[in-house]
């Protein structure tokens, strides 16, 4: 199977890179083993919320120099300030053209609402989620929060109490109607995605509209857990039209309905641009010739190799098995790329779960052009994008989505510039 570019990993980084390449006419294939971090997304994309030293970031472009001083191998630092700013400015229009509508304020951070009801710094937010500019004030005085009775992955009282602290009153409305009762038959079905599937049915949605219209009273806005809009946004748009009040979604505990939809939209965009998406296949290994990847083998295709001018590794970190940790080392399973990690697992962890966890800093070593390194030698046609990169801590910094998107766009640029 011959392609211009083979992308291993179908999460945010793999899809963004694939779209960027396919839209420029490249023949691309994405091999994806299934879930990605998008499946538990908050509905927002972070660029950089916190510097490694713990100081807060309000505008990531202005924090670049401090980041460069503190984390010299950070993917953003490898990009250089100019490229970082240029690519970051492209993200919102890029996502928009791909069908993912986001709101943001340029290169500055804004605040989103967490499932705990607190406000948290972020960069771009899906347009059906609320955002605010201030960390301690909401744009409304009175809100109506609706939730399905018995849905345990969204606890309204957390939100009510946090909102009250910052001067916003909430009324809580639990709904249950016949169309949803079948969910209770199987006790493990009460998850966001299963409920969302029920709301793909028009009659259930209409019932919800009616409930909201009857009960929302004098609230300025209606807030609903993200349990609508799994497959298409039509349902959500109908809801927003008919409720006669601004309606926003709030994130739930996983799985993330908006995250799954975002992934599907990006995948469709990639396929519409001519890309081939192979879902449920896993890359087993590669054959190198000199400093190049010559052939790539997958589980489903046995001894028929993928042959591509370039290979992009976007396999994620531990969760997605882009990195694998054993008791004594961390390795990259596809091409056995050089990985930066500390020896001795005692220093991988902090016993406070909420402190900096060093294992989250580990990643694949690359050159300045994000090309992978095998036993000290740069592989000429293997690029690395997303969570498996070295030099950053996505959770502590709040930089996971940003690194995925920016590194993917950059890698796509590198590959395209080669052809010229």
């Amino acid at each position: 199977m011959k392609f211009d570019t083979l992308i291993i990993g179908g999460g945010l980084a793999g899809l963004v890179c694939g779209i960027a390449l396919a839209k420029k006419g490249q023949r691309c294939v994405i091999v994806s083993s299934g879930q990605s971090a998008l499946h538990f997304s908050s509905g927002s994309f972070d660029l950089l919320n916190t510097l490694p030293d713990g100081s807060q970031v309000s505008c990531p472009d202005r924090a670049w120099s401090a980041l460069a001083a503190q984390a010299p191998t950070h993917p953003y630092v490898k990009l250089g300030k100019e490229t970082f700013v240029r690519l970051a400015s492209q993200v919102q229009p890029f996502l928009q053209k791909s069908g993912v509508l986001v709101q943001g304020s340029g290169l500055c951070n804004q605040y989103r609402i967490t499932p705990m009801g607190t406000l948290k710094s972020t960069w771009l937010t899906l347009d059906d989620f609320p955002v605010c500019r201030m960390p301690d004030r909401l744009p409304w005085k009175k809100v109506a929060i609706f939730n399905m009775a018995g849905f345990l992955d969204f606890y309204t009282q957390f939100i009510v109490d946090e909102f009250r602290k910052i001067g916003t009153e909430s009324s809580v409305h639990l709904f249950h109607f016949a169309g949803l009762e079948c969910l209770r038959k199987n006790p493990s079905e009460m998850r966001s995605t299963n409920i969302a599937r029920m709301f793909e049915k028009k009659e259930n949605l209409e019932k919800l509209v009616l409930t909201i219209r009857q009960e929302s009273g004098d609230a300025e806005v209606v807030l609903l857990p993200a349990i609508v809009g799994l497959v298409a946004k039509d349902g959500l748009e109908m809801l927003r039209c008919q409720v006669e009040k601004p309606l926003y979604l709030l994130p739930t505990l996983p799985p993330s309905v908006p995250g799954i939809r975002t992934q599907q939209i990006l995948r469709k965009c990639f396929q519409d641009a001519g890309g081939v998406y192979m879902l449920g296949d896993t890359v087993k290994g590669v054959e190198k010739e000199g400093n190049r990847i010559a052939r790539v083998y997958s589980c489903n295709h046995g001894d028929i190799p993928f042959v591509a001018s370039n290979v992009v590794l976007a396999t994620g970190s531990y969760f997605s098995q882009g990195l694998i940790a054993t008791p004594d080392r961390v390795y990259e399973p596809v091409a056995d790329l050089d990985v930066v990690y500390e020896t001795g697992r005692d220093c991988w962890y902090d016993l406070n779960l909420f402190a900096r966890q060093h294992y989250q800093d580990f990643g694949v070593k690359t050159d300045a052009g994000f090309r992978g390194i095998y036993q000290g030698n740069v592989l000429e046609n293997l690029y690395v994008a997303g969570a498996l990169l070295e030099g950053f801590n996505p959770i502590r910094e709040g930089s996971g989505a940003g690194v995925s998107i920016l590194s993917a766009l950059y890698v796509a640029e590198q590959i395209l510039s080669e052809k010229l």
Partner: protein, 538 residues
Amino acid sequence: MIESYDVIVIGGGATGAGVVRDCVRRGIRVLLIERFDISTGATGRNHGLLHSGARYAVTDAESAEECIKENMILRRIASHCVEETDGLFLSLPEDDLSFQSKFVEACRHAGIRADVIDPKEALLLEPSANPDIIGAVRVPDGAVDPFRLTASNIIDAKAHGAEVLTYHEVTGFIREQNRIVGVKVLEHKTKEVKSYYASIVVNAGGIWGHDIARMVGVTINMLPAKGALLIFGHRVNQMVLNRCRKPADADILVPGDTISLIGTTSSKVPFEEVDRMLVTSAEVDLLLREGEKLAPVLAQTRILRAYAGVRPLVASDDDPSGRSVSRGIVLLDHAVRDGLEGFITITGGKLMTYRLMAEWTTDLICRKLNVSAACTTAVEKLPGSREAVEEIGKKMISVPLAQRNSTIYRHGDLAEKLAENTVSEYSLVCECEEVSVGEVKYALNELDVHNLVDLRRRTRVGMGTCQGELCACRAAGLMSSMHKYCTKRAKEDLASFLNERWKGMAPIAWGDTLRESEYMSWVYRGVCGLEWSQKQEE
């Protein structure tokens, strides 16, 4: 108002709970004081092995005899806490097979049935066992759930009028000349200090009993011995697997509920460390290395957690060097030993003999109080164990099968309280362990739950493979909605619960466990923005 009792028992482990139950059933007014939750010490941090006594047969005949007697009693009185799995003592090529005959002889002498079986037959009985074995002996080992056992003793004691105060810490004693007449207690929640009076105070504080005794100027020569264990993600073996040799490190693999446990190591630790038992990577490596010899499949089995407990070993009174250590029961009447009236210490022993320890202690109390009632705890069944599983199931036929079976497994006949549950209460809070909303509500209403960790001890919420990823948040929400605490406390409790889970995961955080941990970080720190301050830890 002066709060006065016949007896105050310090320590909510199995021993303390057993003493309280025995006392109250003999008509004695008793108060239990525990500084944290029940079973937070060594009771909750061991193998959960229903010893047949075979392990001690060669080295300690007295303990072996006590074990087999109590083993048979617990099967009767605590059937819902016990799994009758039987056990195998395996000889590997590196072990001396001549030990086997000595072992069997000693077992029989102690009254423990020990059948030598063909290694091939042993492998049919227990396919996970090392195929290289050269010998196998079958003994009546089993599995016992120490949380359940302790909780059930407490439930019975309370039902008969005992009072139980958890999160109350004894900070001092009230003394009149050479007699202890009461204790000063700090209530952790309110920070209030109260006094409680009793004719007799029983020190059942396990290793912490050392410091409790010191408060009244009594020295007990205790040696804190740390034992580390690993929990595997699924049940590898159906029978208990032991090495047929003199007791050594990591030579027992116990199946329990949905998991298997390998342990233990044994190392002396200083008293300053007994409240912060962390498992080291060297201990993990040793447990795995030895465990794989019993069941080679452990090398490919996911590890869920590592944890460690502290055994309260007691040196003989006549040996100040502390070398002559007994694993037997130590009952100290400080009136006789130290001239201090109204104070008794019960220590040493092991989980298996908790009931016997309680009986001895209560016998002594009765002599002092001139009570003539005899002990009934060897015959009276514990709550939860009074009905056959089939009968309980019949009464709960409307509850969906998964929830029905898991609650009966956990609560025995007490699960009947969930029979009237409505459909919304069948929803699962914890999907790994099949804990329903109804079960959580029952625990919150009736089983003295103050936080998520307490809830976990009573229901297994968060003990499955995901270690609380989703259920922790669900349970915190439920607790808050039932007004157990405000949402601010709920979030703090959620963070501290997740941190408690992480402490057991960090020593073995590689492979799938690290994947799970990273996911947990993403969800709670990333999506939820949950934080945790140092202040909370204190």
